[in-house]
Symmetry: C2
Subunit: 291 residues, 2 copies
DNA sequence: TCATTTGTCTGACTTAAGTCAGGTAAATTG
DNA sequence: CAATTTACCTGACTTAAGTCAGACAAATGA
């Protein structure tokens, strides 16, 4: 058998291992060990405090300490005590460090751009990568509270509107809908949650409150590449927990029969169908849940 | 920007690196260094002679020698001189070695099966993996001459027939077509070439000869995941070179207007359209090329 | 046949990576 | 406030990985 699922998976793993190995090789071209390069890159990507670096890179405290001093010796980073805890130290790139970091980024970006450039269907290739990254990263997906006007929140919301436009027979115009004001989805009135897989937004949900003990769930969206992995359930659970913490006792939501997966989710997670509670033209299904 | 092509590519690379790292970790669970495990696996996958192992694993001769002796000391492999060259040595797994090899395979296969099992659309995930593996592996794709009755050849031929069935408005029944006898595509009359990416067949082409200095190109097929990467051109060039070596002076082929990519390829690579030269019901385009 | 090349092995290295047991100073807790 | 915990550092290790210069025997070519 040469074409069974497992052979195909393993061929994928081999090809990707080769690519990863080649990237590591080109990293070594900058005359620094892979360990030091990883630390430099992690700092450049915003992992500032030493404790964070240690868990992110999964390094022994002694080993990381030495790597940090090596980078400090090369004048690529500075280490200063944390203002809130004089024991902890915070790493920052110097100008030279930023230049080195950019050089490493260039290596990665060039490899990525080359591969995408010479492919006949870059968008298909990227969609495939999204799918695989979501499947592999499902255990590492985190849910974070964000301002709904954040770039990552806006990305989710735009995708959500675009998808509604495609799926509702009538199309979707956000201006005709009961569009929640951003402040209604920010504490203390409400909250907006984004699911991030490796930093990439792959889903969102909003709790739209008014200060009263009743609030609405809005804008539940999951990226196509992440569907079927249980993200909607995780997001809804997180939203309910957050709503409870904000003092909300009852949640309501409206949805559309063109979104059967969503309706099925609500039906199986303790929501009860209720009568129409607004005059928004789009929804035709209404649910309620007591927390 | 959080959703540009390069970010998406790099998110993919990160998630896959984590997965590869986790696999290496579980390999270490068998109490052998990664180097020794890699050698054992390579032998199990048919890399028997030491020289082949050295190039395949890209190892220093001294290092490989030591790893081999370590495995020999564990009674996992035997090393015997090659019958054709008494300097060269050939590695083979002992019974215990086969058991260890299987254990490593199990680790990989279980990880693969787990991931596929818990995904809602395993076939979509696999198609995405095929696409990426073909894109990453395009430089490592090799063209090999095979017997057209080989399992890998048959896989290509079946896919080819299935695809014709989908694309021809009339469907496609191999029995109605001028199906070449396998012996017509085996030296000295002809040849059958298969493109292999990491051992996986992703394309084929046949040269159907009769002993005369005129022969036909048949069964040109490229896997969907590998289209647009120039494989068809590579296969055709290889087929022409092989035909020439078999003493063939003129090549002909028939094709169908439902396959415009193929027709475009022939038109741009030195083929001239000619009159119908057979009464096969399927083709409606005919080409010829003098080598 | 004899010089050269080839395939593998050995011993003596270097280096990166990682482990582990203290040590110091700051923060936290009862 | 004293005891404990936490965050990081240091020194002394081990191990895997990899490099390099020969050594040897078999194969090859003039």
């Amino acid at each position: 058998m040469t074409h069974d699922p497992i052979s195909r998976f393993r061929r994928f793993a081999r090809s990707v291992t080769t690519e990863v190995g080649a990237l590591d090789e080109s990293f070594l071209g900058r005359g620094r060990s892979l360990g030091a390069a990883r630390v430099l890159n992690a700092i450049g990507h915003g992992h500032a405090d030493v404790a964070d670096l240690r868990t992110y890179l999964n390094l022994d405290s002694g080993l990381l300490s030495r790597l940090l001093r090596q980078l400090e010796g090369e004048d690529l980073i500075t280490l200063s005590p944390s203002p809130t805890d004089a024991r902890a130290r915070i790493a920052a790139l110097t100008l030279a460090g930023k230049a080195e970091f950019t050089a490493y980024e260039e290596i990665s970006n060039t490899r990525a751009a080359n591969l995408l450039d010479r492919h006949p269907h870059p968008e298909a290739l990227l969609a495939a990568m999204d799918l695989i990254a979501s499947a592999l990263g499902q255990d590492r997906t985190v849910i974070e509270e964000r301002d709904p006007r954040d770039p990552q929140s806006l990305f989710c919301l735009n995708e959500y509107y675009a998808e509604l436009g495609r799926r509702l027979r009538t199309g979707f115009d956000v201006n005709l809908s009961c569009d929640p004001q951003a402040t209604d989805m920010i504490p203390p009135r409400g909250a907006f949650l984004v699911a991030l897989s490796d930093g990439m937004p792959i889903g969102c949900v909003g709790v739209k409150g008014s200060g009263a003990p009743i609030a609405e769930i809005k804008r539940l969206w999951i990226a196509p590449s992440a569907r079927g992995l249980g993200m909607a359930k995780r997001l809804m659970t997180a939203a309910e927990t957050r709503a409870k913490a904000l003092g909300i006792q009852t949640l309501r939501l409206d949805t559309n029969s063109a979104l059967p997966e969503a309706i099925r989710l609500y039906q199986t997670t303790g929501w009860t169908e209720i009568d129409r509670f607004n005059d928004d033209p789009y929804p035709d299904f209404f649910f309620e849940k007591t927390l």
